[in-house]
Amino acid sequence: MARNVSTGRKLITTVVAWTIAILIFFPILWTFLTSFKTEAQAIASPPVFLFFDWTTENYSEVQSRSDYLKHFMNSVVVSFGSTLLGLLIAIPSAWAMAFAPTKRTKDVLMWMLSTKMMPPVGVLVPMYLMFRNWGLLDTRTGLVIVLTLINLPIIIWMLYTYFKEIPGEILEAARMDGASLAKEIIYVLTPMAIPGIASTLLLNIILAWNEAFWTLNLSAAKAAPLTAFIASYSSPEGLFYAKLSAASTMAIAPILILGWFSQKQLVRGLTFGAVK
């Protein structure tokens, strides 16, 4: 039976939900608004909200001072590259752990997750030295490798959870029907896990796109993605809030748009298997 919800109660819930949503959204909105202010208006006290002279000069200045497109392409290559490489490794790994588990599978999964609990700065120096020695510093390849490695545990965990939901009998049927292991994964497992793989892919692209610690420390000019592009507008040249905001808006816009159009897929993927 459906619960009776009074109008008053509905109103309160709606107001609370909107308040929380606006609180979460506010910093992004403020950044967006600031990007259209002059530097003086950006630091004005009391702050101006909507009534200021809208200007796009921050955007043109940011574009003229640093090449947005180059950083954008670096971000695309690094986030998509690391995600695809991660999936290539994670699909067979998750398959093995979901469908051919051993006594140690749970331990391996926990161990992989535990690497995410370690503060990255703890391994910064050895990583930096290795990257320097192998000539990977400030290269897209280097960033793809490091982002693949740091996000691999999450990709494997997510895929493992999705794969566990797929009935083993279907894979056994494929085996009886003459499918080799590779064909079983290509023709049966992967198409069935598409919703899960898609949401893993999206989430991981977002994580990789936003990753700042490794991308800032292991890149300089050539391979610097959008995170470095934003960072270049902070301290060194004094605080230019309006330009920093313009750079931030330009950097987050693509991933925000991607997230907006794929939100259904993301929510479905993240709640996959929660209810049978």
Partner: protein, 333 residues
């Protein structure tokens, strides 16, 4: 040809021997049913034959060829699963075509075989649908279609009807039996339902705790059960067992008499008792009689026999149909 021989086959999971050791011969074209209570190892045995589980010891010979180490696909067997195990993202056509595609057959040959299988199974109108758009019976037919296109040496069925409702189950039972007569291919069928076993099998293998209790035709098992387990498992309602003085009168530790072999009378007979519950099926009536000094006995009488709860009745066993068992539960013949 589809003859299958198991030699000392065993399966051990950890320290637990699910199947201690089994020898079995299945001849070409036979319809063999593995039957037993849940957990008796019948599905495990089927999976060992299929190659989905590795044997711990022993040999599996298929068509004179040692198949013990062969992967499932190379054993020439097809399997129909309890959950149908259809590929949900493929159409009915692609599901049925999948094994042929895996075998690398050309498209024209695949199309023809799929159409033929669909015709046999009345699936022609559904070829372009997805499995989720089909009813349970249709899904099961697709699973069977996928199994027959390969023209395997033998079919393996793992409780294929247990997800269907009662009426559909009876229909599909008949369809599978007809398919067997048509194809004349060896079929191994696992079920816990002794009615399915009795109605479909050429040969029944009764399993209990990983061991074969008896192998024989349905009527052999019904008429001459080797032991108490088989006697109790085959036949519905279950055989009545009586031990103590009544059994000693027949020089046995336990005697068994099937409900349909007890003659009921209102005025004379061997054992007297009170009717506890009367189950009227129309054609027959099952009476649960509390026999004095013996316990509850089930009798099957004609549906016309007027009797109700609380009536005093007499029961007389047909001496020709009385089964005698020793203290180990083995039949005395």
């Amino acid at each position: 040809m589809g003859s299958i021989t198991l030699k000392n086959v065993s399966k051990v999971f950890g320290a637990h021997a699910v199947i201690p050791s089994i020898d079995l011969d299945i001849t070409d074209g036979e319809f063999v049913v593995f039957v037993g209570p849940s957990g008796c190892g019948k599905s495990t045995l089927l999976r060992l034959i299929a190659g989905l589980e590795d044997v711990s010891d022993g040999e599996i010979i298929i068509d004179g060829r040692n198949a013990t180490e062969l992967p499932p696909a190379r054993r020439g067997l097809s399997m129909v699963f309890q959950s149908y195990a259809l590929y949900p993202h493929m159409s009915v056509r692609s599901n049925i075509a999948f094994p042929l595609k895996m075998a690398g057959e050309d498209k024209a040959a695949i199309d023809k075989k799929v159409e033929d299988a669909a015709r046999v199974l009345n699936l022609t109108d559904y070829l372009d649908r997805k499995p989720r758009q089909l009813s349970g019976g249709q899904r099961q037919r697709v699973a069977i279609g996928r199994a027959i296109v390969r023209q395997p040496e033998a079919f393996l069925f793992d409780e294929p009807l247990s997800n269907l409702d009662a009426a559909l189950r009876v229909n599909m039972r008949l369809e599978i039996s007809q398919l067997h007569q048509q194809l004349k291919t060896t079929m191994i069928y696992v079920t816990h339902d002794q009615v399915e076993a009795m109605t479909m099998a050429d040969k029944i293998v009764v399993l209990n705790r990983g061991r074969i209790e008896q192998v024989g035709s349905p009527l052999e098992l019904y008429r001459r059960p080797d032991n108490l387990f088989v006697a109790g498992f085959i036949g519905s309602p279950k055989m009545n067992f009586i031990s103590g003085a009544q059994a000693a009168n027949h020089q046995a530790h336990t005697i068994g008499i099937r409900p349909e072999h007890l003659v009921l009378s209102k005025d004379h007979g061997t054992w007297q008792g009170t009717v506890g519950v009367a189950e009227h099926l129309g054609s027959d009536t099952f009476l649960h009689v509390n026999a004095d000094g013996i316990g509850t006995l089930t009798a099957r009488v004609s549906g016309d026999f007027a009797v109700t709860h609380g009536d005093r009745v007499f029961l007389t066993p047909d001496p020709q149909r009385l089964h005698r068992f020793d203290e180990k539960g083995m039949a005395i013949r």
